[in-house]
Amino acid sequence: MNEIPVGTPRSKIEIQIDGNLVKAPEGSTILDACRQEGIDTPTLCWAENLTPVNVCRVCVVEVEGSRTLVPSCSRPIEDGMVVSTDSDRVRKSRKMVYELLASSVDMDRSTSEVKDWMEHYEVDSDRMGEKTEIATVAQPPKVQDSLYVRDYERCILCYKCVEACGEDAQHTFAIATAGRGFDAHISTEFDVALPDSACVYCGNCIGVCPTGALVFKTEHDMREAGTWNEQDQEVTTTVCSFCGVGCNLELHVQDEKIVKVTSPADHSVTSGHLCIKGRFGWQHAQP
């Protein structure tokens, strides 16, 4: 019998968050420390199974001595750091980030968490102008096969899909950010159709998308038909049958039918990522 080998325990660092002393392990981010203390912090581009890219800037906090706000998702804590998570500056920037996004992107199908935060910060993107008068990313959805829909007018460019396709999970690199500035967008090389790209249809990009820009075709079709009903869906965790890795599957079931498959991000086997068989190979369970 073997004990699980553990490294030397990490020492704890003391910081101040919103006036309270907080001890968190060395190497934690400010976000980790906030979550440890139960301080809710909005995130868009952060995910527990991806490397932080800190591009959305919605998790910014104020750190004493820093000229600008800092992204809590990626900044490691330092001894004696003094952090404010709800100052005027923080609230203003967070609200503005949501307003800027909502003014240019269709946020309708965002996760409920995103919607709740937008309500919390009283987001009003209309003051930027009519969507027909100002620059937006409006475009028709890309439907190029029977598994995926890429609806890029919902894309906030959080880079999560690129990370999941590349270094952080699949190592396929079928998509990347192309263009620059407001024209930056997620694309295959020369915008070739997905089946012609390197895509292996693992669905890990869909798994991490926070705004419904990348969806299973099943979900897309049900939403278009008005039959998608998340409240009535039950989620059951089981084990994929297609190989010996032991990936956990979360089967989302509506009306006794599987409508989509995800994997728990906090599970050590998958970290939320699957392959094409686990993600899409469930039709045989559907009479």
Partner: protein, 601 residues
Amino acid sequence: MSDLKFGVDKPTAEEREAIDDFISGVGPASIKVNERFVVGGRSRAKDRRRLLLPALHELQSTSGWISPGGLNYICKVLGVPPAEAYGVATFYHLFSHQAPAANEQIHVCDDVACRLQGAEELIKDLKESGYEAKSSPCLGQCERGPAVLIQRIKGKDLAVVAESPKPLTVKNIDKALKENASSEQVTIPQRGTDSLSLLARVGVVNPKSIKEYQEKNGYEALGIALNVGPDKVIEEVTASKLSGRGGAAFPTGVKWRAVADEQGRPRHIVCNADESEPGTFKDRTLMEGDPFAVIEAMTIAGFAIGAEQGWIYIRGEYPVAEEHLKNAIEEAKREGLLGSDISGSGFNFDISLYKGAGAYICGEETALFNSIEGFRGEPRNKPPFPTTHGLFGEPTAINNVETLVNVLPILRNGGSNYAMKGTENSPGTRLFCLSGRVENPGIYEHEFGITLGEVIEAAGGVKDSKEIKAILLGGAAGSFVTAEHLHLPLTLEATREAGVSLGSGVVMVFDESDDLPDTVRRIAEFFRDESCGQCVPCRVGTVRQEEVLARFTQGTSFASDEELLEDLSTVMKDASICGLGHTASGAITSAINLGLLERTT
């Protein structure tokens, strides 16, 4: 890389040959030793990723665009995923993504300085004469606008500017193409005067001759450095209180010390020659007129911090400076002043020259690293800082051209001697880029502490003795000031106190006849075009800012626009990743505060 899948498009024979030639020194990412043994994989591909940007340049100049077949071939040879390579290629303005319509693509600068000199008319004339012409952000030739960059298929790029005072015409373009020559001249109104230190050789010596360079104190400083050792070099630089001339004014000695202390890891010295701040052309002037000084200074820096590899990242719009630097590197190698065992000291140091491809953001140090490494020029979050996690994640000292060149007089005359010039907190001299409505535009070297009025006076005062309406100080990332600021001493401390910045030394003068709202809108457009798009505040903020200004100039503003502009400024300053977003609203806000933008509603 794993499941790399390459498209079906094939390269042309020429493209294949150009890429093969280019890669021949290092070999492809995967080597088929024989039918049963292939060496390659992820680690080798990672090692070759830094060849992506120069390979794209090869393709662009071979075919006039980033062709699908050519890009595919590059990806196969270097082991880069095609989607990533496409993402990199589409990041840069100087790479085309459509088959070329003509043999040459003419970029005409219509940025803040050049649009005062008839840039828009020139674009129109060129198009009427059948040229493929399009507008470009600042080309760093502000003293002689409108400036032109000609990109050609299978021919070197040409930089063409007017021979003052006559404005550039289509005929100048015809002539440059016929003669296959860039306009080679640097504008140093103070040329040859004794007070010059940084500019002492510019316009005086032949920039292609190492001999002439050596006759004018060239390589004395390196000799001293090799003699006194790395620690003493850093001591002298620290004693001089030299600070960075790129805008952030960080103490150079402190930076070098930090990198030198990272013992046991490969270290790098990077020369930031991506001068792209609108209104700035000082680094170009130094590189064109005194390229050996840049090479010598980098060699000293490399010696001081313990780096064996130096990197120059020069913007793609500077073909003359690039050529002069290339020549200087070769000459220095030939003379044993670069390469292995420099001057018999046992110190090995080499320099790689990297060319940007049209992206202002790559002047941001971490974006510059990403660009060299073959990734999109997107800035990294800091910390960690370059001194510990720089190029290739290794300790790196990055300085701009002007900062580095200062090291030569510091070593020749001693750090404390250097510190006696200028003011106590802003020692030494600095270069000013005079453009716009002054009699004698060009690069000037003055001691810190000179007033803004004196700087303009030294350039012959306002052209045609008109009234100053505004001065853009420090570039597009700086701010506007008015005649009220003429008594402002130009030091780091005094400008900071006045809430302005010296930035990259830009002094651009506008007179009463100039259309300031148009200039301000152009600045907004510049930031919109140059935002890398990575973070939300800057990607969308710069767009919304430009839209507000467009509404201002069109007289269609909303009542809430002023508040919106303030909010945009706040979020960009507070929450953007890098300096571009932090400064994107500075000049605009200052223009509004000074009443330079008359609302037309």
